[in-house]
């Protein structure tokens, strides 16, 4: 779990984009930890949301993840 969280944060920090789809997170994590499955990655992403390190960004129809404090930090 902790290693997955680190991989997510590392990806989020070095990514050029400020928001990414879950799919992109999953691919990035699996590059570092090839045997990581989708479910634990989702759990780790949820934990990072709860720790307020990641944020959700939603248009209403689709949802992306972002690093808190990067890109859109205001709520609009």
């Amino acid at each position: 779990m902790e290693d997955i969280k680190e991989a997510i944060l590392a990806f989020a920090e070095k990514s050029k984009k400020s928001k990414f789809y879950f799919n992109d997170i999953q691919k990035a994590v699996q590059k570092v930890i090839p045997d990581a499955k989708a479910k634990p990655i989702k759990k780790a992403a949820t934990a990072l949301i709860n720790e307020e390190k990641l944020i959700y960004f939603s248009t209403g129809s689709s949802t992306m993840y972002g690093l808190k404090g990067r890109g859109q930090t205001e709520d609009h």
């Binding site: 989708a38 248009t59 689709s62």
Partner: protein, 472 residues
């Protein structure tokens, strides 16, 4: 089986939970309403109110007047929110452009759905709708409410939101339209802790599951749609609230092929109640329909004189598979040919009933037109047992949720993935054999692809040897 809630349910009493007095709720007269003028000039909105149909503009004006007459401290967001919304809509009509900004990081803590962020981009002209977020409330199964419950929700939304609501959104939720970011957490707290009410889904999530009225009121229901909807909603809470799908995913549950929630057209995974034994026939009742004692369709078309009921014309000849006939004064059905279209049962409900060996058909991949046009779900599993706790069904769900999130592109719905990778792939994922009915037309959607191990000699076989026996 009697229904058992997953947690103890309080009985909500409006009298104990209400925010507004009766005087506050009924705070304007019909004369005042007639005289009402919106603070913005809204000629096109006024136009929408004309004509025979009920108009949201008329409802909005009532709500605007209601808010004008409430005391300042009885609303947590601006009283003008309804009037500003109408004003901005008028501007959009004039300019042919929307002024709502899409999306943002609003939400309630820990949830990735249920709140949809919207902002006005004309905040100086319409300050009260600077934030205009939508909240989705997960409707109870089949939308059964007590009026106490509805009143509590309405009071809460009047107090902390715009008072404007939409019952219901296409997905089924109660939609509360327009509030400010600061109000989201207090509303969520109140809904969760006092009203025992969850938010619905939005974003790349499992969306709020919805079901027909089912066994609660409908004698045709082959499955307990409400129990199933409730169970899967609770069981997949995490998928509802924590987005990790490529796009939205919808479950809908119809108790029979009449499809009152139109699951076949509106859900990525459609559940439709069905039966595998024979249609039950009461021959005496058939005679009573023929003799005119019972009105066909339970009298639904009695408003006009259609002449004497003619079973040949109205039932037998309309059977899509032509599997019905009369023999020695008895109605006969070749049940092996029946496609469960429900027509005969709908026409003669007292004579015909679905069979008793009931279960569910599962279909995949419907969606509204986004990338490639609208699409109906594909009948993939014709029959499955359907009893709580629905382990067999959850297994199917999870096979799909291993495949689609892994292989689906961002913003690709399940139906589009099935189109892209083929029905054969879907069948492989589910581990089920193909059926001839899955071929819509030869060549356009072949469902069988040869695998090398199935071909004598494999891909490397000697074509010249084959041609020596088959000249062209």
């Amino acid at each position: 089986m009697a229904f058992e809630p997953n947690e103890e349910q309080k009985v909500l009493k409006y009298d104990e939970l209400r925010i507004y007095t009766d005087e506050e709720l009924n705070n304007y007269t019909d004369e005042e309403l007639k005289e009402f003028k919106c603070k913005h000039d809204i000629p096109d909105m006024d136009e929408l109110e004309k004509g025979p149909w009920p108009s949201f503009v008329a409802d909005c004006k009532r709500e605007a007047l209601h808010r004008r007459n409430l005391a300042d401290d009885r609303m947590m967001i601006d009283r003008d929110v309804v009037e500003d919304m109408l004003g901005q809509l008028q501007v959009s009509f004039d300019e042919g452009e929307t002024h709502w900004k899409h999306g943002g990081i609003v939400g309630v803590f820990g949830y990735g759905g249920g709140v949809i962020g919207r902002y006005s981009d004309l905040q100086e002209r319409f300050p009260s709708i600077a934030h205009f977020h939508t909240m989705r409330i997960n409707q109870p199964a089949s939308k059964f409410y007590s009026s106490d419950y509805l009143r509590c929700v309405c009071d809460l939304w009047e107090y902390r939101g715009s008072g404007m609501m939409n019952l219901h959104g296409s997905t089924g939720d109660i939609i509360c339209i327009g509030t400010f970011t600061e109000q989201l957490e207090p509303i969520f707290y109140e809904l969760g802790h006092v009203l025992q009410q969850d938010l619905g889904g939005s974003g790349s999530n499992l969306r709020t599951p919805a079901c027909c009225i089912g066994k609660a009121r409908c004698e045709w229901s082959c499955i307990d749609t409400q129990a199933m909807c409730y169970e899967l909603t609770h069981y997949y809470q995490d998928e509802l609230h924590r987005p990790a799908f490529p796009y939205k995913f919808k479950f809908k549950f119809d108790g029979c092929p009449n499809g009152c929630v139109a699951s076949i057209a509106r859900s990525d995974m459609s559940f439709i109640g069905t039966w595998k034994d024979d249609i039950r026939i009461d021959q005496e009742a058939v005679q009573a329909y023929i003799g005119g004692e019972f009105a066909p369709n339970a009298g639904a078309h009695a408003g006009k004189d259609w002449g004497k009921f003619d079973i040949e014309k109205e039932v037998i000849n309309l059977c899509p598979t032509k599997c019905m006939w009369m023999e020695d004064g008895k109605l006969m059905i070749d049940n092996r040919e029946c496609t469960r279209c429900m027509h005969c049962i709908n026409t003669m409900p007292r004579a015909l009933k679905p069979g008793v060996e009931t279960g569910v058909s599962i279909l995949f991949g419907a969606k509204a037109p986004i990338l490639d046009g609208a699409q109906m779900s594909l009948l993939t599993i014709p029959f499955m047992e359907c009893e709580p706790p629905y382990e067999n069904i959850k297994e199917v769900v999870e096979k799909i949720w291993e495949w689609w999130p892994e292989e689906g592109k961002n913003r690709e719905r399940l139906g589009e993935l099935i189109q892209r990778q083929g029905v054969a792939k879907l069948l492989k994922v589910l581990g089920i054999p193909p059926m001839p009915q899955m071929v819509k037309e030869p060549r356009s959607n072949p469902y069988i692809f040869w695998k090398e191990e199935d071909v004598p000699g494999g891909w490397g076989r000697d074509i010249n040897d084959y041609r020596s026996r088959h000249a062209i």
